[in-house]
Assembly symmetry: C2
Homo-oligomer: 332 residues x 2
């Protein structure tokens, strides 16, 4: 199976210097490049400030994803695409994992939480049973933990009133059509069929504590309203202080069947990580992308095909890029 | 951290002889030992006949789990415990994976399918998008695929009418109490707090094709209505022809954070598998149990603490046992 290598690099930086890597895969970059990259820059800088204020990496990851969830250009949180145009329902998924003790919280298919990542965090911190809650059970738990909801209404309609009219006219779309209107009044002029998935963040604080998290929504270009593997622990997200922290983007089924994040986490160096990603490519023609920080604080950003805008801050070093040929910027 | 080793063994058997291993962790064996073991025997024998009739291992796994889901003694399918006594709702989870191509189907939190494993199978075979569907999205897909439902009503009330009265009297139970009544008229005299999770099956057909599957319901002894990790690909279920097939039982969060099934799958031999299971024990005082068939057709059944009734058939060899001290039977 042929595959195109767009970019691959790994940056050695001093250990114990706090660092954060953000990936946002929300939109067709040829249309939204500047907007996505400036959003990532702003968010990464705000997040890095938190790390420099000695906040634990887990807090930094949660706060960063909250910023991303609030930004309409990313397909997560309030501004997600719909899982099914007939129902007009948001379907959010999020997870967070901290590397110190391998604790995690994971939530799938919730529709009225302002910040799905905060539900995942509450599950991680406060659940006495399963740390993977779904749907109404998860929302009930979120309510118990007083995680804010969006007035109990469907988020999309609540937040994006400007899009409501278009949504109504699309109410007889078959399942499998995209939920987010592409050219409504007040909506972004985005080709959603070319959009990528949700967002992911990995961070290390000055104590060497790792954390990883992801937040995403209905699959773009979906044929069924399934969940994305990007937020599943072991598939898309993994953190362990003795190894590092990783967030992987890609085809849901491939991420899961390959246990992609868990496998990538075991890479001992840049070359091993790259080999693993190449191994993944034998199973799929779809894109894979990964951001990670290893235990020495070395940062890696990898993709096989596709686009994955990213932003890295460590000390005075700032790097960013995406993988759309022709508008890549970064360091090699 | 101290842990008690109850049993451990691995049985070398000739390759390419079809084989099946069934685990059922449904009830407190001191009360139900004979019932559980005779149900497992009956089901394993029926399933083995299917393999001898040259059915692919994936079909055998699905059919076996259907038998288990129909049996009221196991906590899966129709006779599951409730996720929350106030709502009286069943919350089923199931998955199936075939080792030939690493395809899988996974479903979480559905409440009105007669056979959750068949929904997972339909997802594996027919979904063009995500292979992990949840809740209403999953049920909509199941309906499209004509997988039978239980009259669209909540299963528990539909199937176990005898228990309804007790359920009603328990309707003000706090979240976290057990849903299945313990001593109602017509119900089993079972101490559900001592019950284990759902069921798992691994099989190899005469072509050496591997398959693994699991079906489970709300957590027994739960404090929140979370999902079990036993049905998640990579955590509880994994199959790959070049390695084998595995089904792991244990604490949900530990299964997920350790990527238990995926990790156990990499064991090259009996001793390696045992070392991995011992490694798991460092992270939890809870029980772990695993059944697997490796690519040479060697069968392994392992537990650390706890009970896990199991049944193995390969050729003329039949083995069975559980891990309740004092009533163990099997081979060493």
């Amino acid at each position: 199976m042929a595959f195109q290598i767009i970019k691959h690099f790994c940056v050695p930086l001093a250990a114990k210097e706090p660092c954060i890597v953000v990936r946002g895969g929300a939109s067709h970059l040829s249309l939204n490049y500047d907007k996505v990259m400036s959003a990532l820059e702003l968010i990464a800088k705000e997040s890095y400030k938190l790390l420099k204020l000695k906040l634990p990496s887990t807090d930094a990851v949660e706060e960063t994803i909250k910023f991303l969830e609030e930004n309409p250009i990313f397909n997560c949180g309030c501004q997600s695409i719909l899982n099914d145009p007939r129902n007009g329902q948001v379907e959010n998924h999020a997870s967070i994992m901290e590397g110190k003790n391998m604790k995690f919280g994971c939530v799938s298919s919730i529709d009225s939480s302002k910040h799905p990542i905060s539900v995942a965090r509450a599950i991680m911190e406060r659940s006495l049973g399963s740390c993977f809650l779904v749907g109404t059970s998860a929302l009930r738990f979120a309510e118990k933990c007083r995680v804010p909801t969006v007035h109990g209404r469907r988020m999309f309609l609540d937040i994006s009133n400007a899009c409501k009219k278009t949504l109504d006219t699309k109410c007889d779309c078959p399942v499998g059509e995209l939920g987010k209107p592409s050219d409504a009044d007040g909506c972004e002029q985005v080709d959603w069929k070319k959009c990528h998935g949700g967002v992911g963040v990995v961070a290390m604080d000055e104590y060497g504590n790792m954390a990883a998290g992801a937040s995403c929504s209905a699959l773009v270009g979906k044929t069924e309203a399934g969940i994305s593997g990007e937020h599943l622990i072991g598939s898309g997200v993994y953190a362990k202080n003795t190894k590092g922290a990783v967030s992987v983007s890609g085809n849901c089924s491939q991420l899961i069947s390959l246990c992609a994040a868990c496998r990538l986490m075991k890479a001992k160096d840049q070359s091993a990580a790259w080999n693993i990603l190449q191994y993944f490519s034998h199973f799929s023609d779809d894109a894979f992308g990964a951001i990670y920080i290893n235990r020495e604080g070395r940062i890696g950003v990898y993709t096989l095909k596709g686009q994955m805008p990213w932003y890295v801050i460590k000390g005075s070093g700032i790097r960013c890029g995406d993988y759309l040929p022709g508008c890549y910027s970064g360091f090699t």
